[in-house]
């Protein structure tokens, strides 16, 4: 199976601490991977590096064989944890923007997803609630035909009905030749989506493996395993 992302011995130095400390990650094509860890564990740092908006101090990160840059940005669909759309935009402006900037954006799919999420394209981005914003951002991200999707806390701060829709959208979007990295600490809701999981702590991977196999070998759910690893 091909590898879409390979991080080798990656470190990220900050002035007072190390965000990443010898991180090794390999993501294969067609897999949904859960990157699990508490705040400050380094998962957001790694995500930002993969998205191309943060530099690493040493080591190597290759996405589809290339260092993060213009090419990788065109094949990586990144969903940040914050409101990142320009404040003056309406939903339809955001769609046009994505359509203009990304060659792999599927307008029809986005319209379909927005309908599914009950979002009106004439609404202003600033007027949306947190849950609606999350649904919008996810719709935009999933409407790209990217090789690697990176979703940073897609369920954070979102009510249960919205969460269900988001999970459904993720499953529906699953393609055999795309991979997905999902970071979350709401493991319970989403663990059945993961093919593989990686537990990250203090800038390193402390446990990783196939989700089903971990359930069998450890005799517990991924959620329980998470609590055990990070108690």
């Amino acid at each position: 199976m091909e590898t879409i992302l390979k991080a080798t011995n990656v470190t990220k130095e900050y002035s007072r601490h190390r965000g990443l400390n010898g991180l090794n990650i390999e993501i294969k094509k067609g897999r949904i991977v859960g990157l699990l860890g508490p705040n400050g564990s380094g998962k957001t740092t790694f995500i930002k590096i993969a998205a191309g908006i943060l530099r690493y101090s040493s080591g190597e990160v290759l996405i589809d064989g290339k260092e993060p840059g213009k090419y990788t940005k065109s094949i990586v669909a990144y969903l940040p944890d914050t409101n990142f759309l320009y404040k003056w935009m309406k939903i339809k402006d955001a769609m046009k923007f994505y359509n203009d900037m990304f060659d792999d954006f599927d307008n029809e799919k986005c319209t379909h997803l927005l309908e599914f999420m009950n979002l009106d394209i004439n609404d202003r981005v600033m007027s949306l609630s947190k849950g609606m914003l999350e649904k919008l951002n996810l719709s935009l991200t999933l409407s790209r035909k990217a090789k690697l999707y990176i979703l940073d806390e897609p369920l954070g701060g979102v009510d249960p009905t919205a969460r269900e829709k988001i999970i459904n959208a993720i499953i529906d979007n699953f393609k055999e030749d795309s991979s997905m990295i999902i970071t979350t600490h709401l493991v319970n809701d989403i663990e059945r989506l993961f093919d593989d999981v990686m537990f990250i702590s203090e800038g390193q991977i402390v446990l990783e493996g196939n989700a089903e196999e971990l359930r069998i070998s450890k005799g517990k759910s991924i959620d329980e395993l998470y609590r055990e690893v990070f108690q």
Partner: protein, 150 residues
């Protein structure tokens, strides 16, 4: 031990189904693909899924129960391997038409449940006679009342 867990999970799901309707409930420590397989097997036995029926597509089922499509795929492949389902190129997956197979499935699952019952009761110290007696009494009430222990 492992099979025991499977059966317990079957009981669990069986109970929950009666109480909640048609929602599939997952257990923590059993592989999900096995839980899916058991869920489908049970539906076949109770004839909610009739023989020869088409199984939902991998994606449909994945969305319905919120599970990774690869996992559903694996469950389906295992079902095929066991002969419970078969696939037709381009048309999808179907439940076996083999009546004997389905009867076998039913008795296999029944065996498991009974075995767990006997094991459990033995551990509690019940003798065979006592077990028999209790069963007789409980069965007087028929099927519907006996699931309300949770």
């Amino acid at each position: 031990m492992y099979l025991q867990k499977c059966t317990i999970s079957v009981l669990f799901i069986y109970n929950s189904e009666k109480v909640r309707g048609d929602k599939m409930k997952f257990v923590d420590n059993v592989p999900i693909y096995i839980q899916i397989m058991n869920y489908i097997k049970r539906k076949i036995i109770t004839e909610e899924l009739k023989r020869g029926n088409k199984l939902p597509s991998v994606r449909e089922l994945a969305e319905a129960i919120k599970v990774n499509p690869n996992t559903v795929q694996r469950a389906y492949q295992e079902l095929e391997r066991e002969g419970v389902a078969y696939s037709q190129r381009g048309l999808g997956r179907y439940i076996t038409e083999d009546e004997e197979k389905i009867k076998l499935l039913r008795s296999e699952m029944a065996d498991e449940i009974i075995k767990t019952f006997i094991d459990g009761m033995c551990k509690l110290g019940y003798s065979s006679e006592e077990m028999f007696h209790i069963l007789e009494k409980k069965l007087e009430k028929g099927c519907t009342d006996n699931g309300d222990n949770s």
